[in-house]
Point group: C3
Chain length 297, copies 3
């Protein structure tokens, strides 16, 4: 036959499911040359031999997305993005039981318009960088992940979650009386489709891990102790592809949704400020903060 | 920990599946203060204690969507929409075995252009009001629901169907030699996705209840005698959310599709008139009417 | 009752699943009056009694989509499209184990800009004609179907695949270091949705038949020896619908994606030429061709 090579090349099944087996070369603990930098809230370790970085959220008690956290996240991601030795990032939490609790409410309460502007721009920046990252991004969701925490997981290329039914994930903004921004919604629809997104967003649902998996909100569940091993195996699978083709394909899939926020960024900030400046919203937030303080004491 | 409240609030799973259990406080029969108004074809009962209205189609033999039915539906819905005591509507049928048979063919046969215009505008109005309703809308589909009947169910927030395989639902226009308008299609795609819609619309499929559930066309099946109890339980679940956030979220999800008809409403009426005025279509409709009359006698 | 006919007509379930049974009148081997024309690479047989044509790819070893193959395909399809006796087409392969290996790499290697232009226009033409065909199109995928071969299957109205796990299908361009054009992607998203498409395209996945079925990439699997019988049964089911309504419905579903290429056709050709003219790409292709020649000898 004339093109046996074409046949065998083209017909080799790719590793869609192969990642369910143990990885051929799992990421080693930092025996390999490894650069680590940690600021305040996120610990970053890059294994230069594999080209894979680990970003661990370590901002107890709940890894809430404060201005400081978000700024550090965007800077860390940009550093990795510009490091040619880094081809993939695994994001996970160093805090037990919680991946991230989402946006920090204290940043929205009793602050100046300047502060709200800076905060919201940082939220946008985090998403724009993560959703458009040229690196392979894998979320190892090792705890609950409501609201903004869910958005971070949704923005990765692949989501693995600990199969603990006590951990839940979802865009639950409606339960708090607020509305997820349109780009949260767009990201969600791209993952689970219109109908599941419509129902889940209206109910502000937090889906326990097994349900989240059934709905396609996360790609797979593994026992918690296997989570990092599995994340490494998935990363190995994705890094087997040539970077350039994979990156252009990712851009093709995500550009429309990214461009929508890029085109309406200032408008989106204004909407946030208008919303958060309402006396009724401030009152709710203050009451909520009081309740938290009382519980604390 | 600093924010135990945030953690517990954010990580409380919402009631995605909780509605499968008996409702904590089912809607009671009209012991509670209850306003009822009935015109000709639709019976409306509002339970002011729960804030839930029931709209029952009672236009035998098949609840077909005549101009009179559609006008009454839109007026009834508007009344409820403007009644601050009403937060949700359950729509169902008082006619055994049929939810609604869809558009009334007699309205399209041998009438004037003025009549066609008025009729089609009433069809549009029904959908625009129902799909954009600020209330929680639940369809309790207790019988077959072809064409326009299916559209009404698709336009609600949630669909429960009696698990009787003799009841079927679908946009079967193609089987009658006609084409579903683009906004029927858009509504369908938003519920079941592009592929299922493409196949189902081209085949003009009427899906028996179990198949409809499998395809996502209805959200759940229950034994017929449990249908109203289940609809009340689902309503309770949806009404647990703060109205304002839920309404804005619904608008965000549905606005694009609603705006498409709003922008092309007159054009859509013209298309309908051109279609229905064709001699070939009128001939088919007359023959069909003759057949019905003969069967009747 | 007033409209018993409407009720019984509207409530007759359509044949969504009925095709799983043996067909009532399977296409017979050419006993019926039958016109056959075969050029070089594709054999076409039209059974005028049923209105169904069979197009069999017979371009060994792997039915690669050369300029000659694509031209012949478009001309054959156009002939059938213009033949009022023909209402449906089944496409399949006469080469064992392979449906089509996709675009012919030799057409992209060391040729002139004029040749690249002609070739890419032929690829576009094939897709524009197949995806917009007014006939019912059924793919009987009786072998592996990577890249352009997968696109052809995705462009039909219905896909049946031999349930042989050695046969795989997918848009695996990323594995070869290239990017699927946007209209390959659009067609894929219309079939499997955004998330599955995003993951599969980035990984360049070739899905074994059972996985392809699970993902919705093919509509059903049957034992290889039943494939043609099943294709005929599905065709019978689709041809039971009135042509005009089915065609308009198909256009409504596919127009947006077709129009996107129609509006950007010259730009898409330029993109292809820029890509294929790169020294790095030509070098890869030359090395790949050398490898194939060596394997051959």
């Amino acid at each position: 036959s004339m093109f046996p090579g074409v046949l065998s090349l083209c017909c080799r099944p790719s590793a869609w499911d192969r990642a369910t087996r143990p990885p051929p070369s799992p990421l080693q603990p930092p025996l390999a040359p490894c650069r680590s930098f940690s600021n305040n809230k996120i610990q970053v370790e890059l294994d230069e031999s594999s080209g894979v970085a680990m970003m661990k959220f370590k901002s107890p008690p709940v890894n809430s997305l404060s201005l400081e956290f978000l700024t550090e996240f965007s800077i860390s991601l940009e550093k990795l993005e510009n490091n040619r030795a880094c081809r993939g990032v695994i994001i996970t939490s160093a805090v037990p039981k919680i991946f991230s609790s989402g946006l920090d409410i204290t940043e929205m309460c009793g602050k100046s318009v300047e502060h709200y502007t800076e905060f919201w721009r940082a939220v946008q920046e985090m998403w724009l960088r993560l959703y458009s990252s040229s690196m392979v991004t894998v979320a190892a969701v090792n705890g609950s992940s409501p609201a903004g925490g869910c958005l971070m997981a949704l923005s990765c290329d692949y989501r693995i979650m600990a199969e603990n039914p006590k951990f839940s994930i979802g865009l639950n903004e409606a339960q708090l009386g607020i509305v997820a921004p349109f780009w949260f919604k767009d990201t969600f629809v791209n993952v689970v489709g219109h109908r599941i997104a419509e129902r889940s967003l209206q109910l502000g649902s937090l889906h326990p891990a097994p349900e989240a998996h059934k709905l396609g909100l996360v790609d797979e569940l593994v026992p918690e102790e296997k989570l990092m091993e599995k994340a490494a195996a998935v990363m190995t699978q994705w890094l087997a592809l040539p970077d350039h083709a994979r990156q252009l394909t990712k851009t093709m899939m995500r550009k429309a949704v990214l461009d929508r926020l890029r085109a309406h960024r200032e408008e989106d900030i204004k909407n946030f400020i208008t919303f958060v400046s309402k006396e009724s919203i401030q009152k709710s937030l203050r009451m909520y903060m009081e309740m938290l303080k009382k519980r604390k004491s």
